[in-house]
């Protein structure tokens, strides 16, 4: 996440709602602590001044490539008026500057196959170690685990999210059919998700690279116009309801059809559930679908349509396109690719210990004690007026040298009161050479 500084009023609304306490107000403006930020987009939703945004590309960036491919997220289909069909949305993408659309919803069906295979193998082979397994499809949840729940990293299913599978599939199957060299072909993910954008912007060079990311909000006007005025049909979608359904919370588990599964959405709900998994309280469940946004990707921070409305639209589109069974050709392709490790992550996931007080345990212990001491002095109101989200986080900031005790307006007030008392006492002290008031008055 980045700040649009000119829009930030320095209010403290965003700092309170951040699940990793990654925002401070300093010098009258919000500051995002990048190492803690998981790009969940909560602050975009909270900020009434619209001062939070995701780094993203624009349609101008398409010009860098001769052949431009759109990878639309399944949730895009639920953003338009009732009755608008996926094929109209795909056609509209072609009219605003893309040469081809390669549906992420179609790739999601392969991901469905891969997740199901992985679950089968894992639950058959590992006793009940590291259960429940956690879906890796939501990047904000994956990063929440890296920052706040590193112990749960072994629970994450190491299978690529659908958009990565889409890109890999494009390079494997489609690119060889084109007459363009790879560097002249640009892949752009059309997404509702700030975390996916950050993931793409910070990715190390891969042979299945996605070149850019465009948020729904920035394309909506143009797409809307084309959907309304352009003639129908043209591009026949490859996806069925199984892939389209991934756009909504619970869609992934419905697609994967795993009996002993649980679905959770909303970043704070997810955090509460992860807390329980860390205590080993949910080890009788096999599989958890966890989405940072309420209602799932249709509730993404960069969407236009109301999440609840979009969720219903997605459900209806999925039902209409058939959401009960994976198409036979998808299963067949999955059977070929799965044993080749096609769906697996290429990089290992590591912890991001951004909440650690110090690398050295003895220093960390001293800092922890100092925090305890500070907590007895602070008022415990968690008002946020100091620019840190809670009294506890102010204490941590002080210990880390990023704030001072007098940033607390209550402490400052106490200090002023003390100063005023001293001022009064000093003002009443009289030099020996001065005669007392009473005597002076008597003389008059």
């Amino acid at each position: 996440m980045v700040l649009a500084e000119e829009k930030c009023q320095g209010c403290t609304n965003c700092i309170k709602n951040c699940p990793t306490e990654a925002i401070r107000v300093r010098g009258g403006k919000a500051v995002i602590l990048t190492e803690r930020c998981i790009d969940c987009g909560e602050c975009i939703r909270t900020c009434e001044h619209h001062a939070k945004k995701a780094l993203s590309d624009t349609l101008d960036d398409l010009k860098k490539f001769r052949y431009r491919v759109a990878l639309p997220a399944p949730s895009l289909y639920g953003q338009f008026k009732k009755g608008v069909l996926p094929r109209q949305v795909l056609a509209a993408l072609l009219r605003i500057g893309f040469d081809e659309v390669y549906e992420v919803a179609a790739a999601a069906e392969l991901t469905t196959y891969a997740v199901r295979e992985y679950l089968k193998e894992y639950t058959a082979g590992n006793g009940r170690r590291n259960l429940p397994l956690i879906s890796s499809s939501c990047p904000a949840v994956v990063r929440l685990i890296q920052v706040r729940f590193p112990g749960l990293i072994p629970h994450i299913i190491p299978i690529d999210p659908p958009y990565v599978t889409a890109a890999k599939l494009f390079y494997r199957n489609r690119l060889p059919e084109l007459e363009f060299p790879p560097e002249e072909v640009g892949l752009f993910f059309i997404t509702p998700c700030p975390a996916k954008i950050t993931e793409i912007k910070t990715a190390v060079q891969q042979d299945y690279r996605v070149d850019g990311a465009l948020p729904f909000v920035s394309l909506y006007g143009k797409l809307q116009e084309q959907v309304e005025t352009g003639e129908k049909a043209k591009v026949e979608p490859k996806s069925t309801g199984v892939g389209i359904g991934w756009a909504r919370a619970g869609g992934e588990s419905v697609a994967v059809k795993w009996e002993n599964a649980l679905s959770v959405d909303g970043i704070h709900n997810v955090a509460a559930l992860l807390e329980e998994i860390e205590m080993d309280k949910l080890n009788d469940i096999d599989y958890i679908e966890a989405m940072a946004c309420q209602e799932g990707c249709v509730g993404g921070a960069l969407t236009v349509e109301n999440p609840f409305v979009a969720r219903v639209k997605i459900r209806k589109l999925a039902e209409a396109a058939g959401d009960k069974k994976l198409p036979a050709e998808v299963s067949a392709l999955g059977r070929t690719l799965y044993p080749q490790s096609f769906f697996y992550w290429t990089e290992e996931l590591t912890a991001r210990p951004a909440l650690q007080l110090d690398k050295d345990l003895s220093v960390a212990i001293r800092k922890m004690e100092k925090i305890g001491q500070l907590m007895t002095q602070l008022p415990g109101l968690d008002c946020g007026a100091c620019g840190s989200p809670t009294c506890r986080s102010l204490a941590e900031d002080i210990v880390q040298g990023n704030a001072q005790l007098s940033d607390c307006i209550f402490i400052l007030r106490e200090e002023l009161e003390e100063l005023a008392r001293k001022l009064l006492i000093f003002s009443q002290k009289r030099p020996q050479t001065l005669r007392p008031e009473t005597e002076k008055e008597g003389k008059k």
């Binding site: 706040r148 590193p150 112990g151 990293i153 807390e275 860390e278 205590m279 080993d280 309280k281 912890a351 210990p353 909440l355 650690q356 007080l357 110090d358 690398k359 345990l361 003895s362 960390a364 212990i365 001293r366 922890m368 004690e369 305890g372 941590e396």
Partner: protein, 142 residues
């Protein structure tokens, strides 16, 4: 200056299912901030949670004490409660004296103490009938 050693107290109230689990959760958060290895935190969290639930389920009140020093973490669970009749029997999987209410809430499967034992490097249980129980759990932190 001697090697630093930290000790923190987390009170637990018997029968309070709303706050149940909070002490263990705070212990976990503290260890995370201290930069303790994730696998060790995992063991400490699970054992602390079980110990906390034992106090909530069986005792009037108690506390968890977290002690951290280089190389070792200790969690001490002390309570004022009924005490354990036969510690050896209580360590058996499936043995439980939890109330019907607790069982209805999904507790009392008789896995608490065995689970705690599995997670710790050493566990010492002292108990006196009608007075209370004290459990010392040691975790080596490489």
């Amino acid at each position: 200056m001697s090697a630093p050693r930290m000790s923190l107290d987390f009170p637990v109230t018997g029968g309070d299912f709303i706050a149940a689990g909070e002490a263990a959760s705070k212990i976990k958060k503290t260890l995370r901030q201290l930069g303790i290895d994730a696998a060790v935190i995992r063991r400490v969290s699970i054992a602390s949670y079980e110990a906390e639930m034992n106090i909530v389920l069986h005792a009037r009140r108690g506390r968890l004490v977290l002690q951290v020093e280089e190389g070792e973490i200790r969690v001490i669970a002390e309570d004022e409660g009924p005490g354990i009749d036969d510690i050896e029997q209580a360590m058996q999987e499936g043995f439980s004296t939890a109330s019907d209410l607790a069982r209805e809430m999904g507790f009392g499967a008789g896995m608490g103490l065995p689970n705690m034992k599995k997670c710790t490097d050493e566990i010492i249980i002292e108990s006196e009938k009608n007075l209370g129980t004290r459990v010392v759990m040691r975790f080596l932190n490489k």
